[in-house]
Symmetry: C2
Subunit: 337 residues, 2 copies
């Protein structure tokens, strides 16, 4: 075990787009665990567009400050334990930030007993998969025969939402940002149709792909894509408000979703926001059982986009904000002992 | 029975505020009912802010055109019947427009058997009361102990929403437009607090009136009042989208509710629009029974704002758009025979 710890500090606050210059890699002494604590070695780091929102203001967590080690969801291994809850070798999940080693309070860790590739526990069997599962089925109440549209469809959450909707007998249309992703969604993931929000005829193509309107719109992006989807909703449609990626990496967010609340009244539409970590904390096991079942019988395909090495974290996150990833982007830092 | 019919025609389309010059009163021959039809005498006309929206675009009804007799909800009496469903003397409700006499298809009429003042069937025992009842309890899922805020609180729907919420054990805060209305809401209707959206310290006063945040915001107005309420919502709060009065009488509506969808995600908020006429058509009897019960035991106070004579209809509606009414505004046209 190295006596040193590499960590990514926040070196500046983005005023417009996030850039690599907003981060600085530094090497310091490995921290020491005290009584009741554990020392963890970070193995995998999750790259989530929502991390950009953490710079803007307090969200479900305090706002990021200059000097912070960049926070982020991780998988890690316990390498030193001074508590009864965890033993050396245990695999844990938690917000352990962009670094090699971290001293953690056991209350902030969740034990993972992996029987699949470890990375899966940060994608389909982590917050991403649970967000897709509960967002689509519980918040959105998607039912067989309905039309489900998901934005950022080739992303981590979207690619799972569409597949789970297909497993529930829905017609599934993905919104993404390129012809390559459109092709991937329909030919590889089994989506019924895919449209690009960069297409000049975006609204027309979305309407054509949803001849009876949208019953459930799973929204990861907000902005003008949400405006367009709202205009194609069916009566009594549901909008699952999961993310606002289009508005994170900018200093000039749009004022609000166009036509809200008028369009909600005219079509009896429900918009509902949620955070799976808090709203579904007591139902995670249910979601994980369902997701594991689909993985085991081969009906759910996991798309992971892995970058190698802690040094790749800043560019990895910036890539997510620019939509270059296909599936769940993660940084592989180290292998378990 | 007069051989003549007075009717208010739409003489022009408002580009900004609705004015009396957009209407023209004309006198024509009384229409003749054919086989299967009934001739009705209009008794009461409902004045609803939503009527202004009918000028803007197709809503739950076709958009108003120049030359139309101004549509509107009415109570009427059958004065000639050529069908089996209705007899002379029957009291009916329906959209019979701003006029003395109208020939109607029986399928568009609903029979009223009044055992209370007739006007009540256009206010608390009509669409207004049902909107308050189902909007608060079913769409908003208001529960005892929760904080309910309603805008246009001194208006037709708002004054009922607040009273029904009190009957359900909620803390009730009204948003209105003047100190006189604030006083009326708290001293006459039993609201716990009332704030004016015209107060410079509106947001601060709303926060003080809702120390634990807003659990249910019953929104009749949209616009900046909705923006403010959204910023004071409690976790898992519900916004009942009932009306957008602030945006009807203008050619420059705001783009959309500020911060939507981001604020919905951060606080797990639900926004839901509804139209009681369609969404609750099969549950009207349930709502009417509850409302009649509260009227009979004196626990619900009816606030009606009556103008005398068909000729008052245009100024009556313009007054509603300017918020001059207290309670449900109606035009009294004639008494039943």
């Amino acid at each position: 075990m190295s006596a040193l710890n590499r960590r990514w500090r926040v070196a500046g606050m983005p005023s417009e787009h996030l850039e690599t210059s907003h981060f600085a890699l530094e090497t310091v002494d490995r921290p020491e665990a005290s009584d009741g604590q554990v020392l963890c070695r970070v193995l995998w780091i999750s790259m989530d567009a929502a991390q950009r929102a953490w710079f803007q203001a307090a969200t479900y967590r305090a706002a990021i400050q200059v000097g912070d080690t960049m926070p982020g969801f991780t998988l890690a291994q316990v390498v030193e334990s001074h508590c009864d809850d965890f033993a050396v070798g245990d695999i844990v999940a938690g917000d352990l930030a962009w670094q090699d080693y971290v001293v953690a309070d056991p209350n902030n860790l969740r034990r993972i007993v992996p029987n699949r590739p470890l990375s899966n526990y940060l994608s389909v069997l982590g917050i991403t998969g649970l967000t897709a599962y509960f967002g689509l089925l519980d918040v959105g109440e998607a039912k067989s025969g309905e039309t489900v549209v998901v934005s950022a469809a080739a992303g981590a959450t979207g690619s799972l939402v569409g597949q789970i909707a297909k497993l529930h007998g829905c017609r599934v249309v993905g919104i993404c940002s390129s012809p390559e992703k459109q092709k991937w969604l329909t030919s590889e993931l089994g989506f019924d149709a895919a449209v690009s929000h960069r297409d000049e005829a975006f609204r027309q193509k979305l309407k054509e792909a949803c001849p009876e309107g949208i019953d459930v719109y799973f929204d990861n992006v907000g902005g003008t894509t949400l405006d367009t989807a709202l205009s194609v909703m069916a009566h009594r449609g549901r909008v699952v408000c999961c993310g606002v990626v289009s508005q994170y990496d900018t200093s000039t967010p749009v004022r609000g979703a166009r036509g809200v609340p008028g369009v909600l009244i005219l079509k009896s539409i429900t918009m509902r926001g949620f955070l799976v970590m808090t709203d579904y904390a007591d139902r995670w096991d249910e979601g994980l059982r369902a997701l594991e079942g689909w993985l085991e019988d081969g009906s759910l395909r996991v798309a992971e986009d892995v970058l190698e090495g802690l040094e790749k974290a800043p560019e990895g996150l910036i890539g997510v904000l620019n939509g270059v990833n296909v599936g769940k982007r993660m940084i592989h830092v180290a292998d378990p002992l």
